[in-house]
Symmetry: C2
């Protein structure tokens, strides 16, 4: 059987396999990025017109596009509805952008760590990923400049607000500096913001794309983290030079995004009840964040260091004694606990051992402590074996 060359680069997906394992009800899952079941809003379909069952436009529903553009303008992004493309979840933005930019060997710039499904999508198309280390307030600017001086990446892929996995939110200063650098070197920015609305403090952060003066850009978001992921409705907004290509790639990929999910999203975005839902969601997740922080202090203080996330869905732990956390997955699953090893969030996994991503949104608080106690035990056992 002769497959395409890219199939050699197709990795088995930890996300998918762990999500599959996490289906067992007895498993306490700190993996995945699943919203909490109790916070999935009840939605009503009775008013949906039958016409939503017909084929639609590849661009997406016109009213939804206008609404998303209006909200983006409130964030400071100068754009029109004509620049908005509704996608089948923001994962599809990664597929479309890969098709637009990546040939085998094309260089792209990513944070280290970065979202692993983005790495997989870029690498599937043959990208060579240039890493820029992530600090607590955003990327190391010196390394970023160096990369841009020495390379000509097709784009920079950044998740500046509550990054998955590190939970880092770029400072205002770094947002400005990154925008200036991308303008200076004429590098396209792909800014991925699934977690913007899941914020637990009063901090805000204007998107980097709104600070660009000349560079091209794609900004992508989703309703998956705040409404219902099962709808598979995300969006991208692109600078006018990129939009027509992305639209045609979208049409070739799946004609258009399902209209029933688009209709439902339109009922919520910008509405009073959506704002109330977001407020409840933040309160709910803040409590879970606090519960995990307390449990981590209890069980992990001697094992790892971490920053308390101010938004998003994850804690990012750095083990004091690094070991390959992928080796912990099997013993953890035997204890009915599952987490996400840190290595796959780097383009060169073996060079970055010793990180764990822990989701705090999904496990019920009453089981949280027990789960983390078991996980800490698994790590202690592994360290003891290493020391022996």
């Amino acid at each position: 059987m002769a497959f395409s060359e890219r199939i050699d680069r197709l990795k088995s997906s930890l996300i998918r396999e762990i999500l599959a394992a996490a289906q067992r009800p007895e498993v306490m899952s700190f993996a995945g990025g699943l919203p909490a079941e109790p916070m999935l809003p009840k939605v009503d379909w009775a008013q949906m017109p039958t016409s939503m069952g017909q084929y639609g436009m590849s661009e997406g529903e016109p009213m939804l596009r206008e609404l998303i553009a209006a909200q983006a303008r409130e964030l400071g992004i100068q754009c029109e509805g004509s620049q908005v493309l509704i996608v089948s979840g923001s994962q599809q933005t990664l597929d479309l952008a890969s098709k637009l930019f990546i040939d085998p060997g094309t260089e792209v710039l990513v944070e280290a760590p970065t979202y692993l499904a983005a790495l997989q999508a870029f690498q599937l198309f043959g990208a060579h990923c240039l890493e820029v280390p992530q600090e607590a307030d955003g990327p190391e600017l010196g390394v970023l400049r160096q990369r841009l001086e020495q390379h000509k990446p097709a784009f920079a892929y950044l998740i500046p607000t509550f990054q998955n996995p590190s939970a880092v939110r770029y400072s205002e200063a770094k947002r400005e500096a990154v925008a200036a650098l991308l303008d200076e070197f004429g590098v396209t920015l792909i800014e991925d913001e699934p977690y913007r609305e899941l914020v637990f403090d009063q901090g805000s952060a204007t998107p980097i794309v709104s600070r660009l003066r000349s560079a091209s850009w794609i900004y992508t978001g989703t309703v998956s983290k705040t409404l219902l992921p099962g709808l598979r409705v995300g969006y991208l907004i692109a600078s006018p030079d990129l939009f027509p290509y992305l639209l045609r790639l979208k049409q070739s990929a799946d004609l258009h995004t399902n209209r029933i999910g688009q209709w439902q999203a339109l009922q919520w975005l910008g509405s009073q009840r959506y704002n109330e839902h977001l407020a409840e969601l933040r309160d709910f997740y803040r409590l879970r964040r606090d519960a995990m922080q307390a449990a981590l202090v209890e069980y992990f203080s001697d094992l790892a260091t971490w920053e308390t996330p101010q938004g998003g869905l994850f804690f990012w732990l750095a083990l004091r004694q690094p070991l390959d956390t992928r080796t912990l997955l099997k013993p953890a699953l035997e204890q009915d606990v599952v987490f996400m090893p840190g290595e796959p969030f780097f383009s060169e996994p073996d060079r970055h051992p010793g990180y764990l991503r822990l989701n705090f949104s999904h496990v019920a608080p009453e089981r949280l402590g027990e789960g983390l106690r078991r996980l800490a035990g698994v790590i202690r056992d592994a360290l003891a074996v290493e020391a022996a």
Copy 2:
């Protein structure tokens, strides 16, 4: 701006642009493949569990996969639910198969004519398409054998039942012969069957994949033509050697297909009310087919030849005096009529002038005659200019 090499192969999409033009209510559209609005079934959402809003499995909903496998077995396809992948409309099958098989220069075998969005997807990834001419009962077997002897295509893409655009249904003999040839040369079959259920006579046709003994295969279908295209729910069934790769490619493309549409499809497929709906749909479309046949006899007998379709949604007209039908699109639109030129359904459009695809499902019968009268006038005018 440095785009990927494949963007040079990204064609503007006639489908998309014509669908956009056809949104104007005054336009009589014989383009597209839109189901008739009055036949979109009323669907009920009240019983859908909230959990359908959560993330799901990349494979699709387990019960839907089992149901589709059971129905495929009734068609003679030996398969299990584990071989079924739910996709975001069967267009996505073309994207996934392209990723699995096609590098720049990879040869693939297609019918001439064939589905234009398939051609676009394959060519976007760099395929070189080998054409096999379509006859009234299926492909020219001599040419098919010759192609297989002289080339080693990565797959054969066939639409054996009421092909879009030609409406051809392969005979039993040709189905057997094609399966034997693909087995003999070890070439993978992609069998695309969106129109199987839209049949107007008593004829049936067992899928070609069910006749294969050794070749690998992908069979793909959809609920778009019989239930609601706006759900964007299709499926593929693959031989076990191909399935794991297609699953990972699906996960990288958009994580999973929207669950709300999957849930709705599950309420219908195989049910009594679905069978009743299908019977009504066939009666409805048969009447429209007959109405178009009568109007074509009235206005096109001296202009074109055609076979009366026994299923599907299209008439395929061959002009008695071939001309580039793409040049007719603008004058037709000025008369508020739109159709699909035949050239884009061939991998080498300029070598195949003189065909038109006319959809009979969408235009109301009372406007059908007027639309075809205008279209015939546009063709007569063009022929008169050519003759002058």
